[in-house]
């Protein structure tokens, strides 16, 4: 784990296994950094959800549930923007290949909504080829012009 902060920017990098306690502590660190920089509860809800979904995808799909594989989480937080990246140790995937979970015929399928939620709650979401790394940004509505 590496952390760095200046007066307005906090950065951290974690290599994390699929361990709920570790994931929780990383979430808490991110949320504290956001709160300290003026983000409200709505923003915290959005970023936390996106981080959860990205990590869930990394562990379940990217790392294929293999417990010895890790996800690398990095984040940068300043008053204007939060950037979160999650990288897994898988071979990547094409996000376009994921069926639309809101199509009537897919509504009763239990999985496949994580990417949609990430895109809905974050300002921007990019899957970096080959698709085993996602970069998500969130602009603080209170700071947006």
């Amino acid at each position: 784990m590496m952390n760095a902060s200046s007066s307005n920017q906090f950065t951290a990098r974690h290599e994390v296994a699929n361990d709920p306690a570790r994931v929780h502590s990383i979430e808490q660190q991110l949320l504290e950094a956001m709160t300290e920089r003026g983000y409200n509860e709505t923003s915290a809800f959005a970023v936390r959800l996106a981080l959860q979904e990205a990590l869930s995808n990394a562990f379940q799909h990217g790392n294929n549930g293999e417990q010895d594989k890790l996800a690398i989480v990095t984040f940068q937080v300043n008053e204007r923007e939060v950037i979160v990246e999650v990288e897994d140790q898988g071979n990547g995937f094409s996000p376009e290949s994921v069926p639309d979970p809101t199509a009537d015929e897919n509504l009763t399928i239990p999985s496949g909504r994580g990417i949609m939620l990430m895109r809905s709650f974050m300002t921007d979401v990019q899957f970096i080829p080959p698709g085993n790394r996602v970069r998500m940004s969130y602009t603080n509505p209170g700071e947006a012009s």
């Binding site: 929780h24 959800l49 399928i109 949609m116």
Partner: protein, 119 residues
């Protein structure tokens, strides 16, 4: 019906099983799995289950939790039962709207309204 290890508070009254969550955040995969199994057992033990799930204490949930709710709804429908959801926080309600799951779940503002809606 609850136990020390349960993630749920369960009350059965006049044929309707009302379920509340112990956890404020329904995010952790292990907890979600346990919640799914516990509610699954309740469904199994009723011929035509009438299940009301209250989200009153819930601040956060993930797509995995949505998946579990869908699986439970499918199971209830297969037994010609009924599922109602209630007391959903505004941000969590947004998740249901974005995913269009409000089309398959019957969502009520209050547990009272949900209780009255059972046929």
């Amino acid at each position: 019906m609850t136990s020390a290890a349960s993630r749920l508070r369960v009350l059965e009254h006049e044929g309707i099983v009302t379920i509340e969550f112990v956890d404020r955040n329904i995010l952790d995969e292990a907890n979600i799995k346990q919640i799914g199994e516990e509610i699954g057992q309740i469904i199994d033990s009723h011929e035509q289950p009438k299940i009301l799930i209250s989200f009153e204490n819930v601040d956060h949930l993930s797509s995995s939790a949505l998946g579990t709710l869908i699986t439970l709804n499918n199971k209830i429908e297969s037994k010609n039962g009924q599922l109602r959801l209630a007391e959903i926080d505004e941000q969590i309600h947004q998740i249901f709207l974005i995913t269009k799951l409000n089309k398959i779940f019957e969502i009520h503002e209050t547990t009272e309204a949900a209780r009255r809606s059972f046929s």
